[in-house]
């Protein structure tokens, strides 16, 4: 059984550590643009990872009540669903989906 101090420590992640990871991921993203690498398969997962780190640790979703995750996830699902469906329907030429 966790002591109160262990509970407090667990619910306070290493904010500076997360900041460093976010910074490194951003540098990697910028670096990718200067390299002959496919951008979408590399940059999109990196962006999603950064967003997840902010949501889970800075917004405390990982340690908080699940109802908050549910409320946020509902919006995300609707938004991402909208994005994916409209990009497929009206795909810009650069994506070459048609």
């Amino acid at each position: 059984m966790e002591t109160p101090k262990e509970v407090e420590k667990r619910s306070h992640p290493n904010y500076v550590g997360v900041f460093i990871i976010l910074g490194v991921l951003t540098l990697i993203e910028i670096g990718v643009t200067y390299l002959p690498l496919p951008r979408i398969p590399v940059l999109v997962p990196l962006a999603i990872l950064k967003a997840a780190l902010v949501a889970l640790y800075y917004m405390h979703l990982k340690f908080d009540r699940r109802v908050f995750t549910a409320l946020f996830a509902m919006g995300l699902i609707m938004g991402v669903g909208l994005l994916i469906s409209l990009v497929i329907i009206f795909a810009p030429p650069a994506l070459d989906l048609k």
């Binding site: 619910s11 904010y15 643009t33 951008r39 940059l43 962006a47 409320l71 995300l76 609707m78 990009v87």
Partner: protein, 197 residues
């Protein structure tokens, strides 16, 4: 579990066991996720469809925007540090870190104003082409959200100086922080989708 101070202003216990104000903020953030998804989608599907320039690859300045992104990520760190400070009862710390967050927000807005000016000098505007319309709508709304966040944080700073933010009553800091982190999260997506891809 976070100390959520779930007693409502009227003294009633909320039926879901969480503070209604926090529930309300997360509902807002869910709706904002749909809102920004719509703006990002509109930008994406119209990105290569402008008839006249300037076009994205010749107009957008990655180094300036990368600095702006770094500033906003720093501001998320200072915001969460402010919350951690007041959770320990550190009144000076919460004021200091909130001021740092608001200051970084203003630096970001300055960077956006600089970029908008550079783009305007290239002839880009809301009505000039599809790129201008979708880009300025998306980043303009995001910038407005940042401005609202700075004003909100300033209000919390004033409350902190008045003694209205304590170790047992700091929901104001937490809620402002949630909004601020969301604004940073949206920019993370915008930076990647608009500037890098």
């Amino acid at each position: 579990m976070m100390n959520e101070n779930i007693t409502s202003p009227s003294g009633e216990t909320p039926s879901m066991g969480v503070d209604n104000r926090k529930l309300g903020i997360w509902t807002l953030l869910g709706s904002e996720a749909v809102f920004f998804s719509a703006l990002i989608t509109t930008y994406l599907v119209n990105r290569d469809k402008s008839v006249v320039g300037p076009f994205p690859h010749e107009a957008l300045d990655i180094p300036l925007t990368a600095f702006n992104t770094f500033v906003l990520i720093c501001s998320s760190l200072t915001m969460v540090t402010a919350l951690a400070a007041i959770q320990q009862g550190d009144q000076r710390g919460v004021r200091r870190w909130l001021i740092a967050t608001a200051a970084l927000g203003l630096v970001f807005l300055g960077g956006q104003a600089t970029e908008f000016t550079m783009l305007a000098n290239m002839g880009l505007s809301l009505g000039h082409n599809l790129f201008g319309a979708t880009f300025f709508t998306l980043t303009g709304f995001h910038g407005t959200h940042v401005l609202v966040g700075v004003i909100w944080i300033t209000y919390v700073i004033i409350r902190a100086y008045q003694g209205g933010v304590t170790k047992t009553n700091h929901l104001a800091v937490e809620l402002a922080g949630l909004y601020w982190h969301f604004v940073d999260l949206v920019w993370i997506i915008i930076f990647t989708v608009v500037y890098l891809i």
